[in-house]
Every structure is written in structure tokens, then in C-alpha cells.
């Protein structure tokens, strides 16, 4: 034996080994014998939860015309165990892929956790009926290949793409936010499909099967006690008039801009045109991602929902709102007249106006869209002595304007609505100093230019408010939900802070616009239309043409706003489009006299190549 002073260390080392093994045995005892939860967890892993997908709710228009429905799609499933010895080359050729693709896909499938060669594995998803048709005849040749039916969206009308929205595979974020989804599910990604996702999607069914260690299904778990049948999604009746929508898109073809049409008595949106647009069926199925990429790269931004998201200075259409506020605040009466010498002049400042007789009273100031009238009136309001400061004056003004639906989101059921912009005293105090400004400083607000911004939907909503003589309902796209109720915010009446009696003179003025004013060219013989032209100044190019209208004058059925970008004066393009829409909606057809106008609009292409 070796002489060794460290002899006792053999015991210390042995002790360390014994101690570690003892700790491990205690730990094993605790997880294998004491803790019973692991067995349950392993059983949970061994379940096979088979999802049964519900069919998604259908979308119809206000006249019951079916717009969006479901079409079958086919997922190709493979049970690897049964597919052994399959002629993979022929199979790949049938599906239009290479043998390498086939091997790659199978490789990915095999590496998934929970993989079992006895259970159907998703091999290829979302084949359309057309793609599936020719395959279905050959499928019998391949053992172990099955088809799972799913549903995709299909469209009877190829319109209203942005309002309807589309469905796509759920993102990671959506999966985390909502337990309902798991990877590979589909959900509304924008438009109505997104807003009413929870209504439309229904409830998934589930079948719980037990697997043994070979992955073979051993039958239903607890005799199907916990299985669930799917609940189909609810159908939705939209307030859209799909024929009107289609007509609007045709009129807007070749132009950039938007149309928003509302039923004043309910706030229901009749048409919501964003131009240029695209065919909603482009974003369905396996070609979705390629088409989506192409659309998002398009410089004309077809994915930008202009009626909801574009924000313009409302221009002269805003004068109607000014007329209401000035009356309410007692600055003017219908008889107040201001002179106009080809515009408004104050020192070096001039706001030009076109030739018309002078002076004008309130009603005729709307008819002729007199800039000087509103400059004078607005200046009188802001600088009025009854307000302690200009700040108080502008905030009073702002509250009135906001009560007419401007400056904040209206709360429509289309995602991504923008709020527009109405400045308050803070904004000007910050720029010019505390009350160190006056009416003249911010005079461009009077004619709807300068800082003020509004969405086309807000402008249409102003039309609806005037049509109703003092109130509006939040514009919305949904008329009815099958077996459900629409959101209570849509049946709540919003009264403006303007007394209804002040509306009549504005309505009369708007009628004169069509009879002998700026909208004369676009008049409709048989319908009393009230309208107001506008031009939104555009620092980047030619001005935007705007028109706001409602009809008929008494018992209005439709209020509308039309914006045609870079097309100049409102009367030229926006007004005829608006009145054609009104005529189409109220009469169903365009009379002979107006056919040339219609043809001119349908043919016009204002988009520079």
C-alpha cells in the first residue's frame, strides 16, 4: 500500500457521491411517487384534440343581397403510416410540387412535437375547389391521403373590399391576446371581418380522442362527454346598398378619393367607396400573401381606407357649420349681410372670392359660397366682447363644431377611423402666446382651411346632421345581426349644441346651391337636393374637389360626401358624382338628360400615369 496522509479523503469523496445520489433518489421519489400531477399532464399530452371548424357568418346588404359567403377549401392530410410505399413522385406531380418539396414538407412534419405517423398530418393547406377538382379524381390511388374541409370567403360582388375586410391567418399577437385562436386559424384582419370577428367566427367544436403510446387513436375520451359541436357564426345584414356601392366605385374609377353615403335618420352607411380599390377575392386563399404584398407596394395606396382615414381641410363645405355656430352664438341672424369686394380685405390680408352680387345675406352667402361673409362673421365671433378672451371664444366655437361630429372619432364600426382635427385655444396660445392673437390671425378657419381637418365620413355626417336639422346617429355599417343586437352606441341620438331653428336657413341656402348656385350643373330635376361645394387646398398639388349633399330636402333619405383628389374646384367632379349617387339611390336609374354627364364621369381618368 502507498503511504498516504490523505487516506481519509477516499471517504470524503465517496460521501460526496453517496450524498448526490441520495439527493437524486429523494428528488425522484418526490416527482414520481409524491407528486401525482405529472401523470395527468402526460395524459393531457397524449390527448388528440380534433377541432371542428364552424362556418363563418354570411354578409348581406340592406336589401338582402348576399355579398360574402363561404366556399369550401381543402387541406390535404397525410397519415404517414398508411402512406408508406406511396408513389411520392406521382403524388408530388399531381399537387404541382417537386419531389424535393415533398421530402422537405414531410421532414418538417416529422419533427413536430406530438407527431405520430398514425395521425393525419397537414400536408398542404387551402386548395380551392378548382385546384381540388382534378386532384380528387386521382386521390384514391394514394393510400393514407385524406382531405379536410375548411371554408374560405367568396364574394358575389367584387366591391367594398376595404369596408368588408378580409380574413387571414392569425398572427402571434392575436393568438396571445385571445385563447380562441391557435396557430393556423383564420380571423378577420380588417374591415367588418375584424370589427365583428367575434360575431362572425362562431364557436369551434372539439372532439377529444385518446392516443396510446403508438399515437393510435384509442377512441373518444370519456365517451365524448367533453366533445363540443361547433356553433356557426352569426350572419350580418350590412347597411350597405351593394348596388349603390358598386355604382360609386364605377364612378370613382380612374380617380383618387372617396364617397361616404349615410342614411340620416339612422346613421346607416349606404356606401363607403375608397378609390382606387381592388377586388376583395384577391385576398383569399393561398394567393393572399402575394396579392397583399403587391397591393401594399402600389403607389396609389389601394389599401388606404380613404373615407375613414384620409383627412382633408373640409373647405367651403365647412361654411354650413360656421353658419350654424355664428347664429347660435348670436353673431349673425339670417338677415345679417356682409359686403364682398371680390374677397375679404383687412390691411395686407386678402381672402379672395369669386364674382357675385354684394352684399349677401346668410342664405345667399351659402348659395354663392362667399368667403368674405364667413371671414367677417368668424372674425366678429372670435373678437366679440361677450367673451373674456379670444381663447374663450375659440373654445366655445370648438365645442359647437365638435358637437357636429368633428375633431374626434365618430365611432363607426370600421377599424382605423381617423379623428380629423379641430384646433382649440391651447394650440394658438402655444404658437402666438397667451391670447396674443385675434380673429384675423386664424381667419382661414372660417372657410374650412388652415388647421382644420376632417375625414370624408365626418363631412357626410355633417350633411346628415343638417338633413336632420340638429342631430345625428353614429355612422355604422351593420344593420342587423342574426340573433343579436347592434351596438347600443349606434341607436343613441347625438344632438348638436345648435338650436334646430338655425338649420332651416342653411338648408334653404344649400337648396339654392343646386338651383342657381355653384352646384347648378349637377342639379336633379325631380329631386330637391341640398348641396355644398368645397375645395380643399392641397399644398402638394392640385386642390381636392369636395361636395357634401343630402336629399330630398324634406324627409331626407341620403346624405353624402364626395372627395376627388387633385381635381380642382368642387363643382366639376365631386358634385356630379354625388348627385348621380343620390339619383341612383332614390330613383334607381339615371334619366336621359344626365346620361352624358354620367358617361363623362365614368370615362374620366384623372390619375396621372
Amino acid at each position: 500500500m502507498i503511504n498516504d496522509s490523505n487516506d481519509n479523503r477516499r471517504f470524503i469523496i465517496s460521501l460526496i457521491m453517496v450524498a448526490v445520489c441520495l439527493i437524486y433518489i429523494i428528488r425522484l421519489f418526490s416527482i414520481q411517487i409524491v407528486d401525482k400531477s405529472y401523470l395527468e399532464q402526460s395524459q393531457n399530452n397524449a390527448y388528440l384534440r380534433k377541432v371542428i371548424y364552424p362556418s363563418r357568418g354570411l354578409l348581406t346588404d340592406r336589401n338582402g343581397k348576399l355579398i360574402v359567403f363561404n366556399k369550401p377549401a381543402f387541406d390535404i392530410m397525410i397519415v404517414p403510416r398508411e402512406a408508406r410505399g406511396m408513389d411520392t413522385l406521382a403524388f408530388a406531380r399531381m399537387l404541382g410540387i417537386t419531389k424535393d418539396d415533398f421530402d422537405k414538407r414531410m421532414g418538417i412534419i416529422r419533427r413536430k412535437s406530438g407527431y405520430s405517423p398514425y395521425v393525419p398530418q397537414l400536408f398542404m393547406s387551402q386548395l380551392s375547389a378548382e385546384e381540388y377538382g382534378p386532384i380528387s379524381e386521382k386521390l384514391f390511388k394514394f393510400n393514407g391521403v385524406y382531405v379536410q374541409k375548411r371554408t374560405l370567403r367568396d364574394y358575389n360582388y367584387h366591391n367594398a373590399a376595404l369596408a368588408l375586410g378580409s380574413i387571414g391567418e392569425v398572427s402571434k399577437k392575436q393568438i396571445e391576446a385571445d385563447d380562441f385562436y391557435s396557430q393556423g386559424d383564420y380571423a378577420g384582419q380588417n374591415g367588418i371581418e375584424l370589427t365583428y370577428e367575434k360575431v362572425l367566427r362562431g364557436e369551434k367544436g372539439e372532439e377529444i380522442l385518446l392516443r396510446d403510446s403508438r399515437g393510435r387513436v384509442k377512441g373518444k375520451y370519456e365517451d365524448g362527454k367533453y366533445d363540443k359541436l361547433p356553433v356557426p357564426g352569426k350572419d350580418i345584414e350590412l347597411s350597405l346598398d351593394i348596388e349603390l356601392q358598386k355604382y360609386g366605385e364605377e364612378l370613382m374609377h380612374g380617380k383618387i378619393g372617396s364617397i361616404a353615403a349615410i342614411e340620416p335618420s339612422t346613421g346607416e352607411i349606404l356606401a363607403l367607396v375608397s378609390s382606387p380599390t381592388y377586388d376583395p377575392s384577391m385576398l383569399v386563399g393561398r394567393k393572399r400573401s402575394a396579392n397583399f404584398a403587391a397591393l401594399s407596394k402600389d403607389p396609389l395606396k389601394p389599401l388606404f381606407d380613404r373615407p375613414m382615414m384620409a383627412q382633408y381641410p373640409p373647405g367651403s363645405t365647412f361654411k354650413t357649420a360656421q353658419a350654424l355656430v355664428l347664429q347660435q352664438e348670436g353673431i349673425i341672424t339670417p338677415n345679417t349681410a356682409y359686403g364682398c369686394q371680390h374677397g375679404f380685405h383687412a390691411g395686407a390680408l386678402t381672402v379672395g372670392c369669386h364674382g357675385h352680387e354684394s352684399p349677401l345675406n346668410l342664405m345667399h352667402s351659402i348659395q354663392h359660397s362667399c368667403n368674405a361673409y364667413y371671414c367677417c362673421g368668424f372674425r366678429a365671433l372670435i373678437d366679440h366682447k361677450k367673451y373674456k378672451t379670444v381663447s374663450e371664444a375659440i373654445d366655445v366655437w370648438k365645442n359647437h363644431i365638435v358637437s357636429l361630429g368633428f375633431g374626434y372619432r365618430l365611432g363607426a364600426d370600421v377599424p382605423n377611423e381617423k379623428r380629423g382635427y379641430i384646433p382649440n385655444s391651447g394650440v394658438y396660445n402655444k404658437v402666438y402666446g397667451e391670447n396674443r392673437w385675434k380673429g384675423l390671425t386664424i381667419i382661414s378657419l372660417s372657410i374650412g382651411q388652415g388647421e382644420v381637418l376632417a375625414t370624408p365620413l365626418q363631412i357626410a355626417n355633417l350633411g346628415a346632421t343638417i338633413a336632420n336639422r340638429g342631430y345625428y346617429y353614429t355612422p355604422h355599417l351593420v344593420k342587423n345581426i342574426q340573433g343579436g343586437e347592434i351596438d347600443s352606441s349606434f341607436i343613441e341620438c347625438h344632438h348638436s349644441t345648435i338650436d334646430p331653428k338655425y338649420y332651416n336657413v342653411v338648408v334653404d341656402g344649400m337648396e339654392l346651391v343646386m338651383i342657381s348656385g355653384t352646384g347648378y350643373y349637377s342639379r336633379i330635376d325631380s329631386i330637391a337636393v341640398c348641396g355644398k361645394t368645397g375645395t380643399a387646398e392641397n399644398p402638394h398639388g392640385k386642390d381636392h374637389s369636395i361636395f357634401m349633399a343630402f336629399a330630398p330636402k324634406d324627409d331626407p333619405k341620403i346624405a353624402i360626401s364626395v372627395v376627388v383628389e387633385n381635381s380642382g374646384f368642387g363643382a366639376t367632379w365631386a358634385a356630379p358624382i354625388a348627385t348621380l349617387m343620390i339619383e341612383k339611390y332614390l330613383k334607381g336609374e339615371i334619366p336621359k338628360r344626365r346620361k352624358p354627364i354620367e358617361q363623362r364621369l365614368l370615362d374620366a381618368n384623372l390619375i396621372k400615369e
Partner: protein
Amino acid sequence: MDRRNENILINIDMWTIGLYIALVIFGWISIYGASYNFDDSNFWDFSQRFGKQLVWIGCSVAIAAVLLMLDTKIYTTLAYFIYAFFIILLIVTLLVAPDTRGSHSWLVLGPVSLQPAEFAKTATCLCLAKFMSSYGFSMKNVRDTIIMYLIIFVPMLIIIAQNETGSALAYFALFLVLYRQGMTGIILLLGVCAAVFFVVAIRFGATPIVDAVPDENLGMFAIMIMATIIALSMVYFYYRDNTLVKTISIMGVSMFLIGIFVYNYLDVKIKFSYLAYIVVGALIVYLLVMALRQRKIGYFLISLFVAGSIGFGQMSDYAFNKILQPHQQVRIKVTLGMENDLKKSGYNVNQSMIAIGSGRLTGKGFLQGTQTKLKYVPEQDTDFIFCTVGEEHGFIGTTAVVIGFLTLMLRLIALAERQRSLFSKIYGYCVASIIFFHVAINVGMVIGLTPVIGIPLPFFSYGGSSLWSFTILLFIFLRLDASRKEVYD
């Protein structure tokens, strides 16, 4: 010649052979269970993992037989050459090996892939044994000590460069051998302290001592108490200085009793960590005074240990958050139970614990394990092979394996101790230590006690490199042991 071979066969330790065969067979059964494919149930299918493992086992038997035939002198004679050869091979591997999941440790020779790092362990053990048993070697000699550490650290660093951290860490097991041969236990103690303090600093770094005073740090508090107790124990063992031990103990205990009294009955929110700092400060001052008065460097070193422990604790927190990469942080946190990240890093450990835990007492039965068959457990025939044992054979199976390994290790120590040759004894300890390290880390990992470090379970995990290298490691020692009586030095 005949007589000699006969002699060897008689002298071979049948206990170890028996344990080796039992573990390899149980290992193969587990691999069969883990990689069994119900589609191809052909027992002899060599395209399957269990089939290939059978080939590796066959080769191992041949290797073992050859090793038993060889003369023991070649190991002592060639130890340095073998070591040098493997160092060069490791470097070559690092340079030419293809990227296998981030690691550059596999040499591909046609159809066979080998991992030189596995075999380099045997070479290192031989070299270390040869050097430490050489004439005149002494750990008191600085040059000898440096060379001794270099023998261990050079292959380790190359293997780390190959990105096989797990394999490299196994070299730390050799410190047990150094300890046995006279390396001061303090290094071992410091190593264990460093590991424990690090874990405590991370685990309790953000925990308050008492809930009412949230900005205190239970981790540091615990480290200070542990460091004080260890320092006092050292003072007692080395100097039998009862006065110091008593003074500091009484001071510490009474201060905390007063502290608890003040806190509970006078309702003053005192900071307990300040009390600990006072006690530790007093201890350090006392130790320094003793060092000066008695001219004993030991007192100074003990005070250095106390101060160093506190500094180390403070730095661990910082190092953990600033130096370690996020995925490493998460792994450690998951291991320490600070994070329940079941989707990512925690997934593997959680699934392996489900597999083992669901086995209960007797297991689900051979080939009946759903966790492993449905592939919820990753790497289930290599690093996580122990899961299959746990799931299909239950607590009985896992305990049998752990006790089997323990018996083997203890047997190897007993064999090592009966060697007449120092070379054989040191080599024997190397074998026991390396097997111990692999078992401790691998089993600890799958039952959630140690971090997830990818090293195989000896004789169990699938793979030729692993099985062959452990076979070679073990059978060289068995051959040395068989001819232990031929050596008279």
C-alpha cells in the same frame, strides 16, 4: 504468454464487469424504447438507432477484449504521446469540423462521425496519472502544480472553443482526483462556495429579508451568514481559537436577537443587513488583529475569504445580468425555479419531468411511454435517455439506475485504493470522477436540479463516441487493476 492471459482473466474485477454489462443492456433497452418505431419493428434493423447502438455495443465488446489483451506497460509508456496526439486531434477537429448545431466537435470520416472530445478525456486521465505518479512529483512544487493544471485546462479550453461546453465542464471532475492526491481541500471548498454563493446571489438577489423593508437583499444576507459560519469553522479547525469563535458567535446571535426584539416589539424598521455587515466587519477586524499579533498568515487568508465572499456575491448579480447572454440567463433562472418559461427553455425540462413523473412507481411498461413515443421529450435517446427509464420503468427503474451507477463509482474507488501502482490508483480515481460528473449533471438535468448542459449519460446515451470512450476509459482501468500484483513499486 498463456499463463499470463489466464492470470488476467482470473484477476479481472467481475463486479465491475457485471455492472458494466448491466448498465449497457439497460441502456440499450432504453434506447430501443426511446427510438422504437412501430412501423419498423425489425429487431436487427441497423438503420434504426437501436440497431446502430447494437453495432456500437458489439464494437465496444471487441474494444474491451482488445484492451484486456494489451500489456499495461503501453499506457505508462505512451501516456504523453497519446495526450499529445489528442491535443493535436482536438485542434485539427476545431479547424476542419463542419458546423453541427453550432458545435465544431465532430470529425466526419465517411459514414462514421466521431467526437474526439469524448476520447480526449481518457488521454487526459492517462497523462494526468502518469505525470502525478512520476518520480519526484509534488504538489508543493510550483512548476509541477502548474503543469498538472495545464494538463487539465488545455484540452478543456480547446473543447470550449469547439462549442461543446458540456464536455469541457466534465474536466472539472478531475479536481476530485487532485483533492484525493493532496490538493488542499480549500480549493474544492472555494469552488463549492463559489457555485453556492452564485446561485444564492441570483436566486434571492431580489428577495427582501422582511417584507416591510423591501430594498434589502436576502441573497447577500444569506451569503454573509454562510461566509461567517465557514470562516469560524476554519478558525476552529486550523487554530482551535475558541475565544474568537465564541466572541463572534455570541456577538452575532445576540445582535440578531436584539434586532428581532427591536423590530417586533419596538416596531422600528431596522435593516437586518446592516447588523450582518457589523458582525462581518467585526469578524474581519478581529481576524486581521489576530494575524498581526500572532504572525499567522492563515488568519489573514480567512479574513480575505470573508471579504472575498461578499465581493463575489455582489459581483455575481452584476455578472449575471451584464455578462451572461439572455438565453443563458433564462436557462439558469428556469433551473433555479425563478421563471416558469414552459414554451421556450423550460419546455424540455418540463416535458422530461412530466415523462419521469408520470412513470410513478412501476412505470407505464416497456414501449408504453406516451411522452417519449409521441416525441414530447427532446433528444430522448441521447441526453434525455433517463426520461425513458423514468416513464417506462418508474421509480424502481430510475432508482436501480442511480444505485447501479453509485455502486460502480464506489467499486471503482475501492479498486483504485487497492492499487500498488500510484499511476493505476490516480487513473482509477479519474475514471470514477468522470463517470460521477456525467451522472450527476445528466440525471440532475432531466429531473430539473442542474442546468441543461448537454452531456451524455455513460453507457446509456445513444452514440458510438460516447459508449466507446467510456468503455475505453473503464477497461484500461480494469486491465491495470487485473495486473495490479505485477507491480511492486
